[in-house]
């Protein structure tokens, strides 16, 4: 049979989970990572990264809204997908994840954004006209109390939400890791390390994304780029990446050492079918090169401009590398037969429901949503709009 080497079970010819299912952990990973970056400022008082606080929250929201779409396109019966909320099977990680997603979207993200932006929404309500005015009014739920006492309440609640949000973010993406890691039938997936590896690679990808967005948006709006902020973000990216890399190496070394039943088949698969995506893209280009770049910044002094370029390169390579990691887990886990005696091939189509085209569209969509969100809920106040207005300037609600 074309594309098949060795022996596979007759039902294993076609891959069950396509590139869309690769997109899903990538997107939720970006969400979790962006949120963790935002929480650095709010909970751990890393004030220097304040310029990216609101941007990180909006990014997380934009991506989380898109996250269910690849799943809906993949399902055989998307019209029945709400059954997961109506009759969730409590033993199923996938079912329970539906609630984790809902919790995170509503309680953590939407509520936190609401409490943080509420003052701005009320002011916007007061100063706009027509349809925009009604829209802002709806978003404030009709309450226009922005007295300092009310804002203090908002700040307190926002803090609590962020504190709750951190373990929720861990749960969000750790759960996705558990969905794979708990499948005993698949030795490429089945490891207790999977949720942790997923989580740390999520943090890495989220931080990289917010860093890149911050650089891009600041440049687009001709705002000054806050170098201490950027340097701190890059440092956190470096630390997270070190942990992520160590975890993945631990898994690899463990597998090679124990060399159990599945090892020979998996090893062969990595050397052949997954060579480019795993060794070249994920490990070399996507992990070692960015790590080296970020490490260089920690050790040597570079000019602002050079550092910006290094960060941009490291950020882009990181995102590519983390996507490759998702690909290698999801697709790689289906390329070998459960008989350990053969391999199949992934034939990705282009313009079908689960092909490359919808995948590309789904990756572009969150940026479009983000563009809309930054118009509705501008984060520019944090990002250096203080130029001439600092002495009696705007105190954004984070400090109120």
């Amino acid at each position: 049979m074309p594309g098949v080497d060795g022996f596979i079970y007759p039902n294993e010819v076609e891959l069950q989970w396509s590139v869309l299912i690769t997109l899903y952990p990538f997107i939720t990973g970006l969400v979790a990572g962006a949120f963790i970056l935002a929480s650095l400022e709010r909970v751990f008082n890393v004030r220097v990264v304040k310029p990216t606080y609101r941007l990180a929250l909006l990014t997380a929201l934009a991506f989380l809204l898109v996250a269910p779409l690849p799943l809906q396109l993949h399902l055989g019966h998307p019209e029945r997908s709400l059954e997961m909320y109506l009759t969730p099977h409590r033993q199923s990680a996938m079912a329970m994840f539906g609630f984790v997603y809902l919790w995170y979207l509503t309680v953590v993200l939407v509520l936190e954004i609401w409490f943080d932006y509420r003052r701005q929404l009320v002011l916007a309500w007061r100063s706009s006209t027509g349809l925009k005015r009604q829209a802002y009014r709806l978003m404030t739920l009709g309450s226009n109390n922005i007295s300092p006492a009310a804002l203090k309440v908002d700040d307190r609640i926002g803090y609590i939400l962020t504190v709750v949000g951190i373990p929720s973010a861990f749960l969000l993406h750790g759960y996705v890791g558990f969905i794979f890691g708990s499948v005993k039938a698949n030795p490429w997936w089945s490891t207790p390390l999977m949720p942790i590896v997923f989580l740390f690679s999520a943090i890495v990808s989220g931080i990289a994304l917010v860093m890149l967005l911050y650089m891009a948006l600041a440049r687009a709006r001709r705002l000054p780029l806050d170098m201490p902020c950027l340097d701190t973000i890059a440092r956190y990216l470096f630390y997270a990446f070190l942990i992520d890399f160590s975890l993945e190496m631990l898994d690899l070394i463990h597998r090679i050492y124990e060399a159990d039943e599945s090892f020979r088949a998996l090893d062969f698969m990595v050397r052949t079918r997954l060579y480019v995506s795993h060794i070249v893209v994920q490990i070399i280009l996507g992990t070692l090169v960015p790590l080296a770049l970020l490490a260089a910044v920690q050790v040597y002094r570079f000019s602002d401009r050079t550092r910006r370029r290094i960060y941009a390169a490291a950020g882009v390579l990181t995102l590519i590398g983390i996507f490759a990691m998702r690909w290698n887990v999801v697709i790689g886990g289906q390329l070998f037969s459960k008989s350990f005696l053969g391999y199949t091939t992934y034939k990705m189509s282009f313009a079908t429901r689960e092909g490359l085209l919808p995948a590309v569209i789904l990756m572009i969509l969150p940026f479009l949503i983000l563009a809309g969100l930054v118009r509705l809920l501008p984060p520019w106040a944090d990002m250096g709009r203080r130029a001439a207005l600092s002495t009696a300037g705007e105190k954004s609600s984070g400090d109120a």
Binding site: M1, F7, Y9, P10, N11, E12, V13, E14, Q16, W17, L71, H74, L75, G76, H77, P78, R80, S81, E83, M84, T87, P88, H89, Q91, S92, A93, M94, A95, G98, I179, S182, V183, K184, A185, N186, Q334, S337, K338, S339, F340, L341
Partner: protein, 254 residues
Amino acid sequence: MEQDRRAFLADAGRWLMLTGAATLAWDYVVAGQPENSPNYRVTDHWWGMIIDIDKCIGCGNCVRACKAENDVPLEPGHFRTWVERYQVASDDLDHPSVDSPNGAYDGFPPVEQAAGNVKAFFVPKLCNHCAHSPCVQVCPVGATFASPDGVVLVDKSYCIGCRYCVQACPYGCRFIDHRTMTVDKCDLCYHRITRGLTTACCEACPTGARQLVDLKNPSDPVHAFLNSNAVHVLKPQMATGAKVFYRALDGVVR
């Protein structure tokens, strides 16, 4: 008064008709519910299968019978049951040569030359109807489940087609039916065994290599079989509680 009486009669007539219809419908419903059928009580049975490797001749009758009985698509990748052939050289036990041409739907190609220093045998495979099924565990909506009589079934009107169960099955016995975009797999010919018949694959097997067994039935031959033979299940390390028991299954079989 006229109006009232007419209205009353109309209502009564309607009520009678509906009751009659409901009664008919109820019979239909009851007939399909094995637990209410006169001769079938769900709790009296615990189904499994025994397969004797020494008797399988690789004819593929079971594969054809299953596809005919259960309206399984003939395209590749849609098998409720299939037969694998293992050829193991005694000096290379780790690398058996395994094939299953179209799931053995057309049997196996005839031998061209006499086999050399090689042990060869057939292994029919199907859903193991596990007592601790990993596929049932992962279904997010409750579309696949183990019936009270030990058969793992799929509710095709409820399945959302997420394919998590296909990933979770260690034996590769599930597939997506592209006509319905839901999951499908061997259901132990549930519509037959609840009527006292045996499964289509067992019916068609010419050598009796496959036999349906009822572990709860004290007079079923399975008890003597299990007591007097060394039996194996596939992938015992997965602890799935598989209920398809193989006699003379070689250790090389995956």
